[in-house]
């Protein structure tokens, strides 16, 4: 009974947070609500006895991906007015399609097709079963081929990201700390320039001071 109660609480929070993600005006709020949705879905997974996946969801998604995402969203200068342009204009058609989809999904993914008689509740596993171990064994035996492909996808992501963002910018002004600390005392650091005390245009020194 307690399980059921927890499930409904988590499920309601997940749905509410998801709706907030797409309705908030401030993108930072949206990201934070997404974090909340992830945390509650992690709770749902733990209820399903998939503790490892639940923890990984928190560690990887909430801990790493979403934090990174939050930084990106904070740094972007998003013009909400252009994003929202045409919202009202497109609303009738989009709303109609969304309503049809929602009704279809509710009809299909309901107790009629996915009820307890079609999918009986599995027996709870004993405390000695470690789903981390089971997952690991499956991943590196039966699913070794997909795991390897996923590894190649990650390699590709690295190559693509570097290719798309790494540019040489000769005009950027930056300081090389290695060069800075290598400067010796004496002539490198201070250079005395002799100037005549006259009231003419000063001599421009072309040499750059290290």
């Amino acid at each position: 009974m307690a399980e059921k109660l927890i499930f409904y609480i988590l499920a309601v929070i997940t749905l509410w947070a998801s709706v907030m993600v797409i309705t908030r005006k401030n993108p930072v709020h949206s990201v934070l609500f997404l974090v909340l949705a992830f945390v509650t879905s992690a709770g749902l997974w733990v209820l399903l006895e998939a503790e490892f996946l639940g923890i990984v969801l928190i560690l990887v998604y909430v801990g790493a991906v979403m934090v990174l995402f939050l930084f990106v969203v904070m740094m972007l200068d998003i013009d909400l007015a252009t994003i929202r342009a045409g919202f009202v204009q497109n609303l009738p058609l989009a709303g109609l399609i969304a309503a049809i989809m929602a009704v279809e999904i509710l009809l299909i993914v309901g107790p009629g097709n996915f009820g307890l008689d079609a999918f009986p509740k599995p027996e709870p596993l004993g405390a000695e079963v470690s789903n981390t171990r089971e997952l690991g064994l499956l991943l590196y035996s039966v699913y070794i081929y997909p795991v390897e492909i996923a590894a190649v996808i990650l390699l590709l992501a690295i190559v693509a990201a570097i290719r798309l963002t790494l540019r040489r910018r000769p005009d950027t002004k930056f300081i090389d700390p290695a060069q800075q600390v290598r400067v010796r005392k004496g002539p490198d650091r201070v250079r005395l320039v002799k100037m005549a005390a006259e009231d003419v245009a000063p001599v421009v020194d072309k040499g750059d001071a290290q």
Partner: protein
Amino acid sequence: MSFDAANLLPILPEIAILITASLVLILDLYLKDQDKGLNHSITLIGLVIAIGLTGAVGGGDAQVFFDGNLIRDPMSDLLKGAILIVSVLTFIYARPWLQDRGMLVGEFYVLGLLAVLGMLIMVSANGFLTLYLGLELQALALYALVAFDRDSSTGAEAAMKYFVLGALGSGLLLYGVSMIYGATGSIEFAPVAAAVAEQGISNKVLVFGIAFLVIGIGFKFGAVPFHMWVPDVYEGGPTPAVLILSSAPKIAAFALAVRMLVDGLHTLHPDWQGMLVILAVLSMGLGNLVAIAQSNIKRMLAYSTISHVGFIFLGLLAGSEQGFAAAMFYTIVYAVMSVGAFGILLILSRQGFDAERLEDLKGLNDRDAWYAAMMALIMFSMAGVPPTVGFMAKLLVLEAVVRIDMLWLALVAVFFSIIGAFYYLRVIKFIYFDKPADDAPALLTSSGVRFAMSLNGLALLALGLFPAALLSVCQAAF
């Protein structure tokens, strides 16, 4: 749980491609700018080795490996071979363009090779998981290739559109897969097929899942009404990326459709047939009609792609072995035609100039009669004029449709392909009956490009005159 090394045998072509990509990736770090051509040579050698390996490990009946994640059957052998051969042509055509623009860098080859790897994985997938991973590998590489020219804002825009709509398509596909998994309890095609046969077509969840699968397939193929990305990506992307995008991935998309709909859900043929009929009619209609209005040849070829996809669907929806073989024949032939057409555009481009408008083809015959003849062959083949192979391909899919008593569909297809002939023949008119622009220089191409293009164009003629060889291989696959 022991691992049988025999599992590695059927993926030797994939391993060869991955090793080549890694080699290029590392070697590129140490190459000086003037030696970057070595990347190109290594890539071609790797592809040729992979073709050889495909032939060596191929043949024989279907076998399943990697605990049901991988299948090697006549279809995978043939499609792998076709993808690799078409890819060799793409890399040969792309090189001068890249060199002229200082983009002859290792990343292009790495991304291209990984896209090829993704297609090979898709072709030999035996479960939804492997299929999806292969699809993502291919798609991610292609997104990056479309954005490859970092200084081009149209390229970035095209890549963005492609990425967003591609991700949407993948998401819908996955949703469909989750429904199929929910109804059948498996993500492997053979158990799915068994479970579907047991439950029959009364299961609404399956039909609901199929609707999403078909939408996903439509997105990946670029069929109407999921075609919005095609013209923009073709027009905005750099031509070598479009060259890769428009050819071999269509073969992989065909494998995607066949693996899911035929290997997994053939029993539900009546359900997906209706959906494919809609996609096919809309694609042929809209593709051919809108292509007429285009003045940009890349955009015109994009709409022509859409119409060809309609024809491929005709063969698929027939649901007969003959229909599948015809669709496969059509897909392979289409890939060869498309690679040739974009290859000519690359040949016409030069430093600081991209051939993009139809007028850029004007007087090609006066500038280089041989290339003009090849382009004419390609255009005749796309229009479906005998004796080129395009005619044979269209005939076969129409035959498949007529055999299942859908005569009206065949008539619609013929009607739209006659309309389509107009814009293909207009290109030929530009090539032969118009004078070249005054500032058009003579075409300078390497002997390698000339040889590849000759092979490409003449293959369309040869396959049209002697289609039996390729056709019998296609028929053996089903």
